[in-house]
Symmetry: C2
Amino acid sequence: MLYLIGLGLGDAKDITVKGLEVVKKAKKVFLEAYTSILGVNKEELEKLYGRDVILADRDLVEQQSEIILENAKTEDIAFLVVGDPFGATTHTDLVIRARQENIPYKVFHNASIMNAIGCCGLQLYNYGEAVSICFWTESWKPDSFYDKIAANRKRGLHSLCLLDIKVKEQSVENLMRGRKVYEPPRYMSVSTAVQQLLEIPKLRNLSPQESAYTEDTVAVGLARIGSDTQQIICGPMKSLVDYDLGGPLHSLVIPGEMHFLEKDMLKEFAIDVNVLENS
Amino acid sequence: MLYLIGLGLGDAKDITVKGLEVVKKAKKVFLEAYTSILGVNKEELEKLYGRDVILADRDLVEQQSEIILENAKTEDIAFLVVGDPFGATTHTDLVIRARQENIPYKVFHNASIMNAIGCCGLQLYNYGEAVSICFWTESWKPDSFYDKIAANRKRGLHSLCLLDIKVKEQSVENLMRGRKVYEPPRYMSVSTAVQQLLEIPKLRNLSPQESAYTEDTVAVGLARIGSDTQQIICGPMKSLVDYDLGGPLHSLVIPGEMHFLEKDMLKEFAIDVNVLENS
């Protein structure tokens, strides 16, 4: 049996009681290690579980998933995923392949950014499509997420922006030479995301009236959701550029129309409550 | 301290390890009992926790929340919520009131339908706005959710339909007479939801070409997500009308444009794989 077990967002103890039971008795325990990061390291998980944990990086999951699946044919295998198991396409792919080989599987759900984002007070059913904001380079500035945010705002909906994570990336040179040398991990901050977002209307020559948002539009920056060091800040986008939310992971929300209860909740996180009241 | 603890969707053991630790040592343990239901009853929770659990129904949470908050001023109070604590507006309201009274609070997130819906294979970041479908009566057939589904489909996005739950509702007569007599709980089935959805284009005199969907549009019916008896079925809407998915809770997804990986995953749940391939 292949068990896909969500670990939630905060620390080692965010695994469910049922999940922990499976981990303790599984033959092998894999930890997916690249689509997200957890507030704890492998050693802390091993201590709680009383088990060895095998790090499954991009190479292992995408290229050698038959190792995981082969094991699951005869034994109980736990595949741990930060957040919820269906947060990333890679895990869906693993499930599809398990089914093709008639390997039974079970999923233990957990919190992920897609629902934990509710902590800022903006109601989940008022969100439109989520967008992914990727790191720009000097010459590569994709901005299709702008159109999605614009479409959401037109309908009065909030936009959750998932910020880029670069883990185990290779430089072009190392990739070309086939050298398995990896760049240091990079996690996009709210500051970087907002800077990129504010550049788009300029690049597109949009006036403030035409643009889906301006530097005065209220946005919500969030860091380390679900952990003890969680931080939430709410203010005009221009003020978030200089605001330091500390270590990863960061997320950003650009609200649409707000219900008074949503505003009430956001006030706690506001740099300046008046800005929110007038928005 | 007020602890808002998500219980997840399946059974008693879907609480997190951290959540269980708090429940075991909290002064009082309340269980929110009306916005959703869990696959287990109070007694099973009490057995796992080794604690008495106080059922907090609509009256208690909305009208007497000062009892909960008063307790939290001096003691650790656990307030348990099925799914994730921020799944319903009521709990946001409780948090806002706690803050107004300077009562510290902590949130332990968990899976909710908003992210566990990923189990059907449709990627969460391809969903548009979620909609709520309420029970119709002979004379009251609100259909604003139709426009939201139409807007999502226009953008190629999936629509999660949350189906109505009627728990502790009073009949008009009992309400008028102030009698605290409640109707039996009702949970909308996928069948009922699809019937109502298919009636809307007729009521609005829309041709199949104009309508956001027709009886041949593929939809996904889900029951008891996250539990051992979870069921997922995928087929043309007309075929879901007669399909019995068993006990509550049910959810419905009307897909937008589908990636081939999403279709691959849905095939497992398809009444007829060919229908999916041609959609």
